[in-house]
Symmetry: C2
Subunit: 295 residues, 2 copies
Amino acid sequence: MINVAVVGYGNIGKSVVKAVLLADDMKLCGIIRRTPSPIPSIDVPVATDIEHLTEKIDVVILCAPSRSIPDTAGKYLSKGISTVDSFDIHTQIKDVRAKLDKLAKDGNAVSVTAAGWDPGSDSCIRVLMQAMIPTGVTYTNFGPGMSMGHSVAVKAIDGVVDAISMTIPLGTGIHRRMVYVQLEKGAEFTRVENAVKNDPYFVHDETHVIQVEDINEVKNAGHGVDLQRLGMSSGVNNQRMSFNMTIDNPALTAQIMTGCARAACRLKSGCYTIIEIPPVDLLPGEREYWVSKLV
Amino acid sequence: MINVAVVGYGNIGKSVVKAVLLADDMKLCGIIRRTPSPIPSIDVPVATDIEHLTEKIDVVILCAPSRSIPDTAGKYLSKGISTVDSFDIHTQIKDVRAKLDKLAKDGNAVSVTAAGWDPGSDSCIRVLMQAMIPTGVTYTNFGPGMSMGHSVAVKAIDGVVDAISMTIPLGTGIHRRMVYVQLEKGAEFTRVENAVKNDPYFVHDETHVIQVEDINEVKNAGHGVDLQRLGMSSGVNNQRMSFNMTIDNPALTAQIMTGCARAACRLKSGCYTIIEIPPVDLLPGEREYWVSKLV
């Protein structure tokens, strides 16, 4: 049994708790959060610090904001506890991986970073497509679904009570932004609309801003992706492949993190992105079983 | 540079030669075949035995019939030369892997087995889908495309000069077989048709037999697959994903084998199926480059 603790109890943390409770080879030993009050319906210790848990933890699944990940992961790795995170700032992954690699090796632990669906499982699919079609173009078409980063950027605009930015795929990696805003009383819609359209997050995309009475009416966690690659294998053109999914976003992210927690217990110390992990190590049980069943 | 030799020069062997010549990190050091005559347009030594090549070979890519693979691979592994094969008899992969694992460890070499697209890259996709959706159903829908195994079964029927069996996907893993036969003069079509429909390869599938004058008119190496999975992640239903491709069959098989030859040079001794290899190891160059580019 793998002893797991979940750090953070927001959308992703709640889903990870469900995924770990459903995994036969894992034991959920605790939830770490700022408020240590027990969580109704889940019979699991809640603590503010991992030291307060009675069981020895093999791996923590970090369900905290991306910006806090490098420091938080480092803290656990230094104690010799492996970590999994879904750090999602693509441009910083290489550096975070290098930093956590050192800490993990020093602590004789494993860090699996950027382990959601993009970055994460989509990255694996992109690598497999690259291996199968070494020359060509890959397009990652996101959505329809809510973009957290874009939504947060809109929420920061003066006069906005709450906002959701939906990503709509237009093909070839081009996206439309459908932005739903709930405004403060008296806030001028046209000013907010212009602020959104001129924000760096939106300025290069086709963006539509729509005012709603109550943001909860449009909230939903559905998402999807369509990854496409066209190119040449062994000198032959017109090789085409695509990977498509429609999913509950936190549920998929949590499931992938849970698989990576399993892999973390099978890897040598160091930091890994998911493209560096044998896929079978994400699954429970013996390799031979999956070789027979899925190869 | 990785020193590669290609064993066999049929459809797959020819494509592997192209893929290796296109790989910047590989050197094609020789082609091993029964007839050692030089191959026009390719300036590479041709020999009947690897001992006749002047350069030290790191890995051989075996482009020989599946049934011959365990013995052929064993011969090279015992000499300390790594091997890649696309052994495709699904029910025997587990045993072949166990056998080659011992030989590879004894020879301090690496064997990558069952490394085509199915078994092979499709197996990787199935494993990733299983990790993302641990409970649910996966369907592998093949085609449209020619099935070698089914075609060979028809060719063995008395009165058949040549034959092609096309696999047509009907969804949920159910396939129609469209069998094209070129008959000997005087052979009775109805007898051949019945023999095909009662053959173990065809008896469970909807099968249509069509007589053609010349099999070459229908020959082609296009193929495809549509892998689908629907199920539950983290307790949430209606998670849907699919992987779809349309490809030149030998070109894709050869490209995957070439990627696996690269991986073979990076793995500890032993035998691996592709689901046991970090996907990034199929690609040339440094991990960091691909982490920046594709994660």
